[in-house]
Subunit: 229 residues, 2 copies
């Protein structure tokens, strides 16, 4: 699977590093540039799938960069980051158009949701698992609707349950690291989150217990393997 490439223009290096690492831990590839003047060239070289641009940058601001990027590439989604003081006091609502805005401070969850949404327009490639129901043993799983169905019985899954099941399914028959799951779903793998994952594994096992062919196998010290009939 090819990684999604994110071009990220940010001059606050401390914040930038955190965001970069956080995105990388979730499977994105990130190219970061802190100088507005060099951003367009860096974008060109990056061949990025999506841009995240801070508006306030030295030498050239995010809007000017966006304009030039648009000349090179009409379609690449652009997400702007704006500081609170720049806009919030004046306009309190943004549009959700081709270009998107996120106000600082933002959570990683927010940024990731926006990136995923923005990329959704473009390629249906990631996997068809999004829209269609898929077979999981004698169950049927619909990710968009977050429903795990079994002959005559639908169970509504919560977002976390459903995202964990998706992850397991996408990596079925392979060993999936605990660490990776935690980073992808919780953003980090601290002590508490670790127990959290256990709780959700327990839940999924209980939901799936009616088909003995469907198993979440523990690989102690490493992670899990999801096997289907």
């Amino acid at each position: 699977m090819n990684k999604i490439k994110v071009f990220y223009a940010e001059d606050e290096l401390f914040l930038g590093k955190i965001v970069k690492e956080s995105l990388e831990s979730r499977g994105f590839e990130v190219m970061m540039e802190s100088d507005g003047g060099k951003a367009v060239a860096a974008f060109k070289k990056s061949e990025a799938d999506i841009c995240v641009l801070d508006i306030m940058l030295p030498n050239k601001d995010g809007f000017a960069i966006a304009d030039e990027i648009r000349e090179i590439n009409e379609d690449v989604p652009i997400i702007f980051l704006t500081a609170k003081t720049q806009t919030e006091d004046v306009v309190k609502g943004f549009s959700l158009g081709a270009n998107d805005y996120i106000r600082k401070p933002f959570s990683m969850e927010e940024l990731i949701v926006r990136i995923q949404n923005a990329l959704r327009y473009k390629s249906e490639a990631p996997s068809k698992i999004n829209s269609d129901a898929i077979a999981v043993g004698k169950y049927t799983f619909n990710l968009n609707r977050q429903v795990l169905a079994k002959e005559g019985e639908d169970r509504k899954l919560s977002y976390r349950e459903s995202e964990l099941l998706r992850l397991l399914y996408e990596n079925r028959d392979k060993v999936l690291d605990r660490k990776d799951i935690l980073n992808l779903l919780w953003g980090n793998d601290s002590f508490f989150n670790s127990r959290n994952l256990d709780v959700y594994i327990t839940k999924l096992r209980s939901y799936l217990k009616d088909d003995p062919g469907v198993e979440i196998i523990t690989i102690k010290g490493i992670g899990y393997r999801f096997v289907l009939p």
Copy 2:
């Protein structure tokens, strides 16, 4: 269909750019000018259907610009933008034949509604979902009329209900942030508005409950996803 042309005089460039893009993403065409001295000439060239003028502008303020615009065109609607502190300006604005004024901070929803109101008698609304009825499962939704129809049964929606449904529909199958909804429809995402959104989600769910394929799925801590059959 011809786009509605908005002439927009604004010197805060960051704000201006965001507003411009927001309007454009909703199907308006926007001509922006940041220098009061050049505004009248720019308006002439723009052949705009409506003007949005910030009052505080360099070289020539919004009132003076409005005066000159009125000499050229008696009918074009003018909306003033005033900073919070300049309330006394409002009176002056109305005496100059302004159609409306908006105090900063304002939400994009607010601006769009005012623009649409001002133009109500002149031409049809810009966004294509505005004029046509759209299919929502076995329902039909007409945004302009704010009517949600089901075989033999029409339900008149209130403004908020209908705007929320539009937002959900425009972002169907995607994760829509609570924060965005709140900012777009209410102008901010304070504690009280948050409960408010819940109330309207409940209402829409109950209106839509006859088609089980139409669902507003909660994504706790993030927002909602609207799914259609």
